[in-house]
Assembly symmetry: C2
Homo-oligomer: 156 residues x 2
C-alpha cells in the first residue's frame, strides 16, 4: 500500500478530503468537513472553508456543516450525528461541536498551532464543557497534512 | 445612585442590554452584542442571541455581529472595531473575536459556567492565540446579570 495514500480511510473522510481540495482551488485554507447521520449512514452536508470567499472569519468547514445541518433539521442540536473533518478543529469549532451535541468527531491532521481538541485549550477536556464527543484523531492524516503543506508552500 | 441600575454604563452597553431584553422576549437566552467602529464611534451592527429562533447552535450574539459586520465590510478581519456584549463570551465566541482581530471587548456579567475569557479555557491567554483584544469585564454587570437571573428563574 502506498503510505502516502491510505485507501483504508473511510469514504466519509475521503469525501472530506475531496471537499478540502475544492476549497484550496478557491484559495481557501484546504479543510473539508462532512456531517453524517450516524443512524442511517447518510451524508447530511459537506463543506469546505469559506472564510475568504464569504468574508466571514467564522466560516470554517465545521461551522458551516453544523449551521446548515441544524437549519435543515430545524433543531440546534444535532443528536446522532458524526463529523468528519480533515484538520483538528480549532477552539471555536470544538465549542460549536459541543453545543451541537455531535456524537463522534473524526479528524485528519493534528494542528499544534491552531487546534483546540488535542492541542491548545483542549476544549472537550475543560470542566465547563457540557458535552464531549468521542474523538478519533489522525484519520487520513497523511493526505490531509500533505494537502495543507502543498497549499502553504505554494503561497510562500 | 441606584446600585442596581448603573447609569454610568456606556451607551453602547446600554444598547447591548436593550438588545438582550429583546432576545429574552423571543425566548432566547438574553445576551446582546454591539459592534462599534472605534474610529468613528458608529454602531456597525447589533444582535441578540438567535440560537432557538434560527435553529443554529452557533448563533450567539457575538457571532452574529461579527459575521454581519464582516459581510458588510467584505473583510474577514474587523480591524479597529470594539465589541460590547452583556455576558462574558464563551470559548467559541472568544476564538471568533480573536480571528476577527477585534480591538477591545467590553463585557457585562462574568460567566463561571460557560465563559471562555476569564473562566474555563481563557482563550486569549492560550499561547496558540494569535490576537488578544484588550478586555474589560464587569461593565454594566448588575443589569446584565439581573436579566439572566430573571430569564432562568422564569423558566424553572
Amino acid at each position: 500500500m502506498d503510505e502516502d495514500h491510505d485507501i483504508s480511510v473511510s469514504p466519509y473522510m475521503r469525501l472530506a478530503l475531496e471537499t478540502a481540495r475544492e476549497a484550496a482551488a478557491d484559495g481557501e485554507v484546504p479543510v473539508g468537513a462532512v456531517l453524517v447521520d450516524a443512524g442511517t449512514g447518510d451524508v447530511i452536508v459537506t463543506a469546505g472553508n469559506r472564510v475568504e470567499c464569504d468574508s466571514d472569519p467564522t466560516a470554517h468547514a465545521e461551522m458551516i456543516v453544523i449551521r446548515e445541518a441544524a437549519n435543515l433539521r430545524k433543531d440546534a442540536r444535532l443528536n446522532g450525528c458524526d463529523l468528519y473533518v480533515t484538520l483538528e478543529p480549532c477552539p471555536m469549532c470544538a465549542t460549536a461541536i459541543s453545543f451541537a451535541r455531535i456524537r463522534r468527531v473524526y479528524f485528519g491532521a493534528f494542528d499544534p498551532k491552531g487546534g483546540g481538541v488535542e492541542n491548545g485549550p483542549r476544549i472537550f477536556d475543560q470542566p465547563t464543557c457540557h458535552h464531549r464527543p468521542d474523538v478519533y484523531g489522525g484519520i487520513g492524516e497523511s493526505d490531509a497534512a500533505a494537502l495543507l503543506r502543498e497549499f502553504f508552500a505554494a503561497r510562500r
